[in-house]
Symmetry: C2
Subunit: 329 residues, 2 copies
Amino acid sequence: MTVSRVINGNGYVSHSTRERVLSVAREMSYRRNALARGLKRQQTETVGLVLGDIANPFGAELARGVREVLTARGYTLFMCVSERSAREDIAAFDTLADHRADGIIVATRASKLGNDRLAEITEMGIPVVLIGREFRHPLADLVTADHLRGGHEATTHLISLGHRRIGFVGASLSNVSGLKRFQGSVEALREHGLPVDETLILGSDGREQMPGYATEEMGFDCMKRLLQLREPPRAIFARNDITALGAISAIKSAGLRIPQDIAVVGYDDIPLARHTSPPLTTIRQPTHELGKLAAQLLLRRIESREPPRREEKILDCELVVRESTIGAA
Amino acid sequence: MTVSRVINGNGYVSHSTRERVLSVAREMSYRRNALARGLKRQQTETVGLVLGDIANPFGAELARGVREVLTARGYTLFMCVSERSAREDIAAFDTLADHRADGIIVATRASKLGNDRLAEITEMGIPVVLIGREFRHPLADLVTADHLRGGHEATTHLISLGHRRIGFVGASLSNVSGLKRFQGSVEALREHGLPVDETLILGSDGREQMPGYATEEMGFDCMKRLLQLREPPRAIFARNDITALGAISAIKSAGLRIPQDIAVVGYDDIPLARHTSPPLTTIRQPTHELGKLAAQLLLRRIESREPPRREEKILDCELVVRESTIGAA
DNA sequence: AGTACACCTGTTAAGGTTAACACACAGGAC
DNA sequence: GTCCTGTGTGTTAACCTTAACAGGTGTACT
């Protein structure tokens, strides 16, 4: 009835009526029912963000970017975590679809099962945007950082410092971003005529279950194994900063110095990276931008009458040189 | 109609009918509408978690504990972030209330405005459980770690190592947990007849806005100021591990050694703490347990017919001694 | 035969909201 | 007087699901 007009502030309502409605509403501590509203209006002004590892500051920053754009446009963000398995991914997609989220942003690792369900959901007409996840679909946009170039730059940096034996910590076949970083690294080696020594490439050892998000634990373990080699690498490229921190820890506990004995490059430029000892050379992803862009693309999809042309945006990364690669001060 | 019975698996449905329904459902890629369902059933099997800083691994671990319990019982967890202001807190509460979440777990800092709205929501009959947030209400349960004792233990540890000038990094009047840690610390000093030197207590300097979650930036800044004192402290108790990392960074960039020149104790025992250099002595909170317990208390409230008696659980912390306080290997 | 019960299916209404429409009145323009 | 427009209010139906009930068939037991 007239109440709706008051609550939503559209249509004509006389001042006195409005006051009366508001006062009664206050008195009975009325809250409008978003379920009924969504049901009727066929839109909920709600967006779901599916994150993998929320312990990684990278995910936090991503969420921040997404939220910034969404709240400015009046949307609510609900975050779902899916850290263990494709099953959790699917559960998150289903829940968001069931609750009629207006759109979904997905930043978890790809998996066969997950992608299949994602395709279904996309085809049902729910706008979907991926962040750094391998899933191509004509109805879903994709944003990602240029990990190929990032990996390339990181490695080129090490090569330019004279390193010839470069270890890779945190290799993973199932994570696209990680894989691209690795590929970029290999390309750089090839370009400089350096051999790719497989004994220097360590990852999660097959015992990788779905989480596979690289942890400091993993960095620590891999680095320890590298140090046990007859001729350990003199430089390390880690799949991300968290992994790099683990590697640094392992190097130090072996009594070696960074960068004099072993140089380390990370990836992501998490806030902590500038405060490690030594401060970590790393590849900065435009994390915040990625989140904002994903949200913008999603809103474009949500608010346009018919499905817009698919967008795939690849943002540049940037090498940030700190003291973990060049001795200093 | 019969469809509902098939979808929900209750009531009698013949095999053939069930198959027919399922096949049609698949064909039209039917998804049940959680809005309509929630509207009709007056429950959504959905719980909201309001987190402050999701970049802090502490929040991540908390969420993990909460989720573990909820999913096992068939509930869905939606996370909302409120990192900047009391306004965001309120927005999150409102959204969750509007969407008829069955219950809300709140782990953000207390604020006058936020608590007022929380009281309203609680009194509307929505189950609420607080984690480490100062908000007492007969209808809301509270779980927290014993920060008073934690702060006491950390400081006692430093005193037992012979320290007499102990700095406190990250003081904040507006954060209860932080405040308790500080109080515990002061009590320990008093018990040992040591003076409380206010020049050694640094926080966010009044320029604290709502976020106030202590960052490594803050730890770095405070520590730098402490080092500029005529007689800097020889030991530091940081409000949390992230802050401690910042402090460590500042100490090192001043060319001092840990723990020989300055000992450092953190708080939380985040995964990274064992991988810093040197590994960080810290107070371990039963983070995962806190999350689980909060979820259990919430479910109790949700599922009991009439409001149960208020529970307030205080879990013990534990000192984890590592090399940032006692020189070693 | 009559009664009880298990099994299966359909009808109705309600949950809270809003789009669409209908109506009513006032004031101004012609 | 008629028409138009702006303002204010009310009615209806629909969004999709499910609780409650009603009704049907068939089998088993007394």
